[in-house]
């Protein structure tokens, strides 16, 4: 059984305090299965979740709440070669992935 991570919701509180998420176009590097993405995506204009591991991204796509599509989308890529044009995003989140 999967563990329960951060039921105290410290992580989303900190995310909201530190990042200018309101209506922002965000790229999340190391999005994995979207565990963290769902905790802030509703505040943003859009989120592009990037991860090199296809299986984890598939989990994220399968779990994506219907009201988030297509504003939350996922791409298999490495941080060293992002498939986006210059200046596409307002902000970037390195999620447990530096």
């Amino acid at each position: 059984m999967d563990p329960v991570r951060d039921p105290e919701e410290n992580e989303p509180k900190q995310l909201r305090e530190y990042a200018d998420l309101e209506h922002a176009r965000v790229i999340e590097i190391g999005t994995g299965n979207g565990r963290m993405t769902w905790r802030y995506a509703s505040l943003t204009k859009s989120v592009a979740g990037i991860d090199p591991e296809f299986d984890r991204l598939k989990e994220a796509v399968d779990d994506r709440p219907k009201n988030f599509a297509p504003e939350v989308y996922f791409a298999q890529a490495k941080a060293e070669a992002l498939p986006f044009k210059d200046s596409t995003f307002d902000g970037a989140i390195f999620a447990w992935s530096f």
Binding site: M1, P3, V4, R5, D6, P7, E8, N10, E11, K13, Q14, L15, Y18, A19, D20, I27, I29, M36, K78, A79, E80, A81, L82, F84, K85, D86, S87, T88, F89, D90, G91, A92, I93, F94, A95, W96, S97, F98
Partner: protein, 136 residues
């Protein structure tokens, strides 16, 4: 380093970069029952120290170059809970290649659970780093 350059490219002028990651901090393994917490021992994550130093060094280089400005850095606690010690041990085995659970930590946890019949949850609490940097 190249990842930071690439992120800088795709973020607009004055855009932000949020860095959120666990710090190597010998996190405590505890047994939790409601508000009652019993310490069983530490987890050995010292293998992460070198990686952490490399990341911090790479960030210092981009700050020194003026690619990003460090605006704010803080810390917070993030806890993860398992229902049983077996579930925790099995999860750790599958997910932590380079983190060691010292034998006495597991022994202490087992001893506490044998002496107290309440249904404790297993809790590991990491100190997290959170930093906001601004593209300059």
């Amino acid at each position: 380093m190249h990842a930071l350059e690439e992120v800088r490219r795709v973020v607009q002028k004055d855009g932000w970069l949020l860095d959120i990651r666990p710090m190597a901090s010998k996190p405590p393994l505890e047994l939790a029952f409601g508000d009652e917490i019993q310490f069983a021992g530490e987890i050995d994550d010292s293998a992460w120290v070198l990686d952490e130093e490399l990341v911090n060094d790479a960030l210092e280089i981009v700050f020194a170059r003026g690619d990003f400005l460090k605006e704010r850095v803080g810390r917070f606690k993030l806890s993860t809970y398992w229902d049983t010690l077996d579930e925790f041990a099995s999860w750790a085995d599958e997910n932590w290649d380079d983190v060691l659970i010292p034998e006495n930590t597991l022994e202490n946890a087992t001893k506490i659970m044998e002496q107290d019949e309440r249904k404790f949850k297993i809790r590991v609490t990491y100190t997290m780093l959170i930093g906001r940097y601004r593209k300059s």
